[in-house]
């Protein structure tokens, strides 16, 4: 039997579907959005690039941050909000940080009603653990596989909704359907409104068209553009690129989080993360001289909260109320930078990392109990027994803070498009210039729910359904088939390696003006080459073809990152400029907004929204002084004086 898929031009059959809401991405944010849209009565499709339940969310180990106050009752949403803003160096969209801090406890508790089983406290509540940047123990966790628990729970909730639909409507897929191993390559518009989405089944290579008035992007991040990354093949910035091409805008794209402790040895597992809870549970960082070096890297803004001696730091694990935190628990970028400096100073291992030692700090049995999958992973992958020897770790591209510029309350994309929503890593603003560990899982739930709910509301308010234009579908088909029809272009894998080299070497953890300019030149060259990429083989499950299509997305997102990184002349959170090593309060007031003008990335400056009075009053003046301009501080003082006067008046 001959296979019709061998010849790419033989068939352009397109399967059509009609939905109210199409959710692109089946990780935590996507599934939560889909659940919400379905609960609002909307016919919902979930597009998953991989199999259902394999999303990148499973990689999150530490936990989900929510101020439930189960372990320390002094915790509250205000403290969580403060920590989040601090972690993001005050560049966060304050409203998103506020909603996130307020709503995450409900979102976590809700998961229990879906069947999640978190670790417990003695009195039977959800246990919460310490984590870098969080003032109190705040992360709900399940050993070190919290992400897996979250994804499985949401997956099973969707199954339970499908079972209801089977009972009520006779079919599991009546109101919510998962399209596994399906990739969306294009969003389709009717004027400035979303009309649908076009893509292909990986399995068969057949095309699929969704006609839907609302699309929720939940596609995750962009890490595959980097050489050393913890991200899977899916993380090619699809949602970022789809949004740009549909007329939406991206913000904060210069901020990428390099996880300070990824495995650097052995080579095959380079990039795999070692959870921060190893440090939260007592693990310490040492250089090749055996020195616990983090004490030398505590920045002034944090000096008050962190221990100065090893003795004080060690006391903190058992008596956190009377001692300051160990510097190993500094925010991630500080730790990443410290490791980078140690390695550059020649005190790193041959593989370019430092040692993370928990073996000498806790009994073997305790390590196995607290970090079971960590132990299992190292033993299985590297034959390293973390209860006996230290781990070898270094910075790894992990998370992109930047993403689709959204309305904080609804997740609706800004820019020139309606009906487009974004949640999770693909959206920007929530984490500012740096994300605290544990905030991403709760981010997925809080804003996933919001985006799904608001997408449903948007559909309700539409007077007429937007229509998909035939010509747009034809163009999408042509673009998708092009790499298969060319046989003169380069291999997509080579192009990806070249792109990863440019981004890793020139737009990596430490950046310089000259290198960034160089990167832009090289990206422009790569753009020419990517436009001519060719993929061997047929349409059926052809990874080469899939990568060829993803490259386009990776490239445009990389351009945004490089441009924004060149523009922002300061160092803040996930953006470190060697030539501008300090934070600049003037730059704190600026968001860099990327949009697409034809094929070129356009960069604009946009003022940051101003924090409301009751929120800014949650901070110490001394702390604000480290971030705000004199002008903003004067304004804050005036507010404080007015408050004091009012209070005095009341007392009299």
């Amino acid at each position: 039997m001959t296979n019709p898929h061998r010849d790419p031009s033989a068939t352009t059959r397109i399967e059509r579907h009609h939905y109210d809401v199409v959710v692109i991405g089946a990780g935590g944010a996507g599934l939560r959005a889909a659940i919400e849209a379905r609960l609002a009565g909307k016919k919902t499709a979930i597009i998953s690039k991989s199999l259902f339940g394999k999303a990148h969310t499973v990689m999150a180990e530490g936990g989900a941050a929510a101020a439930m106050g189960n372990v320390n009752s002094r915790d509250s949403w205000q403290v969580h909000f403060r920590d989040t803003m601090r972690g993001g160096k005050f560049l966060n969209n304050f409203r998103m940080a506020e909603l996130h801090a307020k709503e995450s406890p409900q979102r976590i508790w809700e998961l229990e009603t879906y069947g999640a089983l978190f670790d417990r406290t003695k009195d039977g509540k959800i246990s919460q653990r310490n984590f870098g940047g969080h003032e109190y123990p705040r992360l709900a966790h399940v050993g070190d596989r919290t992400g897996l628990e979250l994804i499985r729970t949401l997956q099973q909730k969707i199954v339970s909704l499908q079972q209801e639909d089977k009972r009520d409507h006779g079919s599991y897929d009546a109101r919510i359907k998962v399209f596994a191993e399906t990739t969306i390559t294009e969003l389709l518009l009717d004027g400035d409104r979303i009309a649908g989405a076009f893509g292909y089944y990986r399995e068969s290579g057949e095309f699929i068209l969704f006609e839907a008035p609302a699309v929720v992007l939940a596609t995750g991040g962009v890490g595959r553009s980097y050489k050393v990354t913890s991200n899977s093949w899916e993380y090619t910035g699809d949602g970022h690129a789809l949004a740009l091409r549909a007329g939406a805008t991206l913000i904060n794209m210069e901020f990428l989080q390099f996880h300070p402790t990824g495995m650097v040895w052995p080579v095959s597992v380079k990039g795999i993360l070692v959870t921060e809870s190893v440090r939260g549970d007592g693990g310490v960082l040492k250089n090749t001289e055996g020195k616990r070096f983090m004490f030398e890297y505590v920045p002034d803004v944090f000096r008050k909260q962190y221990a100065e001696t090893e003795e004080e730091a060690d006391r903190w694990y058992t008596d956190p109320d009377n001692n300051r935190r160990p510097p190993e628990l500094l925010p991630r970028d500080e730790v990443a930078r410290a490791i980078n400096s140690e390695v550059k100073a020649g005190r790193g291992t041959p593989a370019g990392g430092v040692y993370l030692d928990i073996a000498s700090r806790l009994p073997a049995e305790e390590i196995r109990r607290r970090l079971p999958s960590m132990h299992h992973q190292f033993k299985g992958l590297a034959d390293v027994d973390i209860t006996k020897e230290p781990m070898e770790v270094g910075p790894t591209c992990h998370y992109v803070m930047g993403g689709v510029e959204v309305d904080p309350d609804s997740g609706a994309a800004h820019g020139a498009v309606h009906g487009l929503f974004a949640a999770g890593e693909v959206s920007g603003g929530m984490h500012g210039s740096n994300r605290l560990g544990g905030n991403s899982l709760s981010d997925l739930l809080v804003f996933g729910k919001r985006a799904g709910g608001h997408a449903a509301t948007y559909v309700d308010q539409l007077a007429a359904r937007p229509r998909v234009e035939v010509s747009a579908v034809e163009t999408a088909v042509e673009t998708a088939l092009a790499p298969l029809q060319r046989d003169t272009g380069e291999n997509p894998y080579t192009l990806q390696q070249d792109l990863q080299a440019v981004m890793g070497d020139l737009v990596g953890i430490i950046r310089r003006e000259g290198e960034l300019e160089d990167a832009l030149v090289r990206l422009a060259e790569l753009r020419e080459r990517v436009a001519k990429v060719s993929a061997a083989g047929g349409r059926r499950y052809n990874p080469g073809w899939h990568l060829a299509l993803d490259l386009r997305n990776m490239l445009v997102v990389s351009e945004c990152t490089a441009k924004a990184a060149l523009e922002r002349q300061e160092s803040r959170g996930g953006h470190t400029r060697e030539d501008f090593p300090t934070m600049d309060p003037q730059w704190r007031r600026v968001n860099l907004v990327c949009s697409l003008d034809g094929d070129t990335v356009r960069l604009e400056r946009k003022p940051l929204p101003k924090m409301r009075t009751e929120l800014i009053s949650l901070f110490d003046r001394a702390e604000l002084a480290k971030y705000l301009t004199d002008e903003e501080l004067a304004e804050f003082d005036a507010l404080a004086a007015a408050d004091a006067a009012a209070a005095e008046k009341e007392n009299r």
């Binding site: 039997m1 296979n3 991989s50 199999l51 394999k54 999303a55 990148h56 499973v58 990689m59 406890p105 409900q106 229990e112 009603t113 879906y114 069947g115 089983l117 978190f118 670790d119 417990r120 009195d123 039977g124 399940v142 050993g143 596989r145 897996l148 499985r152 099973q156 909730k157 199954v159 499908q162 599991y172 596994a180 399995e203 899977s232 093949w233 899916e234 052995p266 080579v267 095959s268 597992v269 795999i272 999958s373 299992h376 992973q377 299985g380 992958l381 590297a382 034959d383 291999n491 997509p492 894998y493 080579t494 993929a535 061997a536 059926r540 499950y541 052809n542 990874p543 080469g544 073809w545």
Partner: protein
């Protein structure tokens, strides 16, 4: 630093294919999935293979390496001899899509059939209270990364495609066990469901699933066996059985002679409320109902449970070398006699005569 190593990889699709030889460079510390990626980047760009996290956390890169079901990302090249040819084939139990990618939709269908967690009606979100020791039993099963290696290796379906409709497989037995052990799950018939609908009785505890589990979940010992034991306790303990006949009349399936409308049949209440079946229960409700109505020579006879075997898959020769007292029952350890009368394919010659 790299050495050349020999690989044989199955290439093809649903229409057929064959093993192809490749010589690949392998570096220190690499795993099989690294080698597959190198092949994709060089001589076989369209080699189809699933993968995601490359860290043993997502369960995507399941394949058979030298005949053993494994995760490609967790199989270190250092576990092979340098001159050893490494053979990589797709999972055998599921239909091939292309190369190393198989159609695993069977598993998702079974997942959809398994009743979901039933939240307790009287607890608001945030009010759930559970002890760590109680959640840990279910947590073990929730470690499952759904790599489906256990499903692939299970001989009930590995070589018997015809068993698939009636058999959910180890992955979904531990899902049922997990819910059964969930401290707050409001449904109380998980075990019975596993027995009646998931085909738990097919399992004869060869422990292959436990052996291949990359998460080291004790699927058989902690999941399947406790489920079987408790089903057996409840159903076949003679006292429980007798008690149910005496004290809970009307709540359990009862045989009785029907009135004139349907002569020749013995009916059971169970036909309308759910079907009571014995070990190895057929998935097919109709045939079960027929079985309970008397003689029907065309009915599907439920599969008997195979006897317990030792670690080598053999019947033990002597009880001295076996882990339980007395010789094992050739009917399987979860079947005891007498069988409940409604399970016998038998109709009394006088059953159609009117009662006085």
């Amino acid at each position: 630093m790299g050495t050349k190593r020999q690989f044989r990889i199955w290439r093809g699709d649903a229409d057929g294919g064959d093993l192809r030889d490749y010589t690949v460079e392998v570096n220190e510390g690499e795993v099989v999935l690294d080698v597959i990626h190198r092949l994709q980047a060089t001589e076989a760009p369209d080699l189809a293979c699933r993968w995601n996290c490359k860290a043993g956390k997502c369960g995507s890169c399941s394949m058979e390496i030298n005949g053993m079901p494994k995760l490609g990302c967790m199989t270190r090249m250092s576990t092979f001899e340098e001159n050893e040819t490494v053979t990589v084939t797709p999972l055998r139990t599921f239909p091939v899509i292309r190369d190393l990618v198989t159609d695993v939709s069977f598993n998702y269908e079974k997942a959809r059939e398994t009743p979901a967690f039933a939240p307790p009606a009287d607890l608001a979100p945030g009010d759930y209270r559970m002890q760590q020791v109680d959640v840990e039993r279910s947590q073990e099963f929730r470690k499952c990364i759904e790599c489906f290696l256990c499903q692939n290796v299970c001989h009930v379906i590995r070589d018997h495609d015809e068993n698939k409709p009636a058999f959910s497989g180890p992955r979904y037995f531990i899902r049922a066990a997990e819910l059964d052990m969930h401290p707050l799950d409001a449904k109380s018939d998980r075990k019975e469901y596993a027995q009646a609908e998931q085909g738990l009785g097919f399992c004869n505890i060869t422990k292959c699933c436990t052996e291949v589990c990359p998460e080291h979940i004790k699927i058989t010992d902690n999941g399947i066996i406790p489920m079987k034991e408790r089903v057996v306790d409840r159903r076949y303990d003679p006292l429980v059985w007798l008690g149910s006949k005496i004290f809970r009349r009307g709540q359990v399936p009862q045989t009785f002679v029907t009135s004139e409308h349907s002569p020749g049949a013995v009916r059971s209440h169970a036909a309308s409320t759910g079907v009571h079946s014995h070990a190895g229960g057929s998935h097919d409700i109709t045939s079960e109902t027929q079985a309970q109505q008397g003689v029907n020579w065309h009915r599907e006879v439920p599969h008997p449970t195979a006897p317990a075997v030792d670690a080598n898959g053999r019947l033990p020769l002597t009880e001295l070398t076996f882990d339980r007292a007395a010789a094992p029952s050739p009917f399987g350890d979860d079947v005891t006699f007498p069988l409940p009368p409604e399970h016998l394919n038998f109709a009394h010659p006088e059953q159609d005569e009117k009662k006085h």
